[in-house]
Subunit: 312 residues, 2 copies
Amino acid sequence: MKFELTILGSGSSVPTANRNSAAQVLNVLERYFLIDCAEATQHQLRRFRVPYNKINHIFISHLHGDHFFGLMGFLSTLSLQGRRGEMHIYADSRLQEIMECQMKIMRSRFVYPIVFHALSRREELIYEDKVVTVTSFPLKHRYEAPVCGFLFREKERERTIRKDMVAAWKVPVAFMQYLKMGKDYVTPEGEVIANKRLTVAPPPSRSYAYITDTLFRERFSGYVQGVDLLYHEATYSKEDEVLARESYHSTAEQAAKLAESAGAKKLLLGHFSARYSDVTELLSEARTIFPNTFICSDGDVFEIPAQKREGY
Amino acid sequence: MKFELTILGSGSSVPTANRNSAAQVLNVLERYFLIDCAEATQHQLRRFRVPYNKINHIFISHLHGDHFFGLMGFLSTLSLQGRRGEMHIYADSRLQEIMECQMKIMRSRFVYPIVFHALSRREELIYEDKVVTVTSFPLKHRYEAPVCGFLFREKERERTIRKDMVAAWKVPVAFMQYLKMGKDYVTPEGEVIANKRLTVAPPPSRSYAYITDTLFRERFSGYVQGVDLLYHEATYSKEDEVLARESYHSTAEQAAKLAESAGAKKLLLGHFSARYSDVTELLSEARTIFPNTFICSDGDVFEIPAQKREGY
């Protein structure tokens, strides 16, 4: 029942020896989502032993090269290795233009289908299946084309039957599906048995939000209220706030403010400028406002464990 | 007076943990030439501490992704780091189309000039300065567009003055330039003093040839006669010769045959298929025909030392 994030690249525009540029993989109940795809992301996938053949969905936040230059290489490798299943790519529509232009000039094609989904400038449900939804929402970066954050949220599961209680009340089998949905049970004699006596609430659904590259805006917290795990770019420290503003990025302090405002449970910082060989000061600055903050490094794995919750 | 090759990627189409895809840097008397540029080449340049800011010329053998997918990332990094000097790119003209299409769609530009030089399907001098020439020559790979090998050759230097002899013969200073060019000296009395008594021959000029990706053709040896160091792809072993032929590649044995036919002094093998975790058998197969064969690994450095040659 995993909900697990693997950091493939925690650096920013120029990769360094210790931090590759932006990429992450999120495993939600064995759906593997690739989030951004900097150059050498396929190398990082291999290095950190991510089962990359299970990736069927790739989300690209925006079209700066440090977020997508690894895409063609990764898709090519999958093609050479004989992939057959569809690959879904969620990105600025211009990425499809770029890729189709290149494939046409090279007179080349992948051996599996690529399905493009164009991102918009508004909050939008972009993916849904039985267990998870993915929503994109607009950020504020250097240009006017879509720059998106992503929210991955487990769907709430059904309530769990308390077998001892349903046996005691002789609830018919045909009614189980309604119990799971939360309905009360009415006995043949007309007595109402409250649902919470017959079932257990499902564990709280888990969620992860990815916010990069962007200026800080308090209102973004509205898109990610109560999120379990929040990744927010912290390209600069607060001392370099002017640089952040000029380059349409955020500081660690601002990332913390957003986490606090959103009521997030845990904050991860990444996309560090190469000027900071030691990011401890950024961590301290964020923790002053939001104590449950952590630094991302390449290869780190963050799990949101499933919780059981008893209740009536 | 360096003539030194650094291997950045010795693998083939799919990078592995130990071998990145094709790229090399050749330092000829402090001119740094990048030869092919697979994905993650900028990472390898940094990893092996190559002074990549000194690269002003990039040679792309052909437009398969494992030879150029790292180019945009590398050029972008240089731009972000404030490069000003021109970058010359020698490649199939379609690479210019691909890059310009992408830059146009992204509404992006580099902060320094890129100068494209289109490769042709014939043997051609493509670069020359005071100390080195670069020649491209056609190979035989999967498609009809230019697929080129490259020959880097030091220009022959001038002869060296023997100061004791020119003093003894009272050769005027104004004549020194002609001595260096190889002319005999005629004394005022009419006596001819042979040049070889007054000068020393220059060291033999050094040369390096890069041959990939290609079928084996004996006639290619004509382009690289007497080369000091020859790199030839050995994607397959001779047991897999059918696979080599079907994919328009070469075997290690064929690489050795070419080296022998060309009268090369030393052969390097690379571009190994990922199927061979151990390439020892490829080395043995090549050495049966051409003993002075070596395997390339990422990070290897091969120097062709300058030789002094005494002579009359």
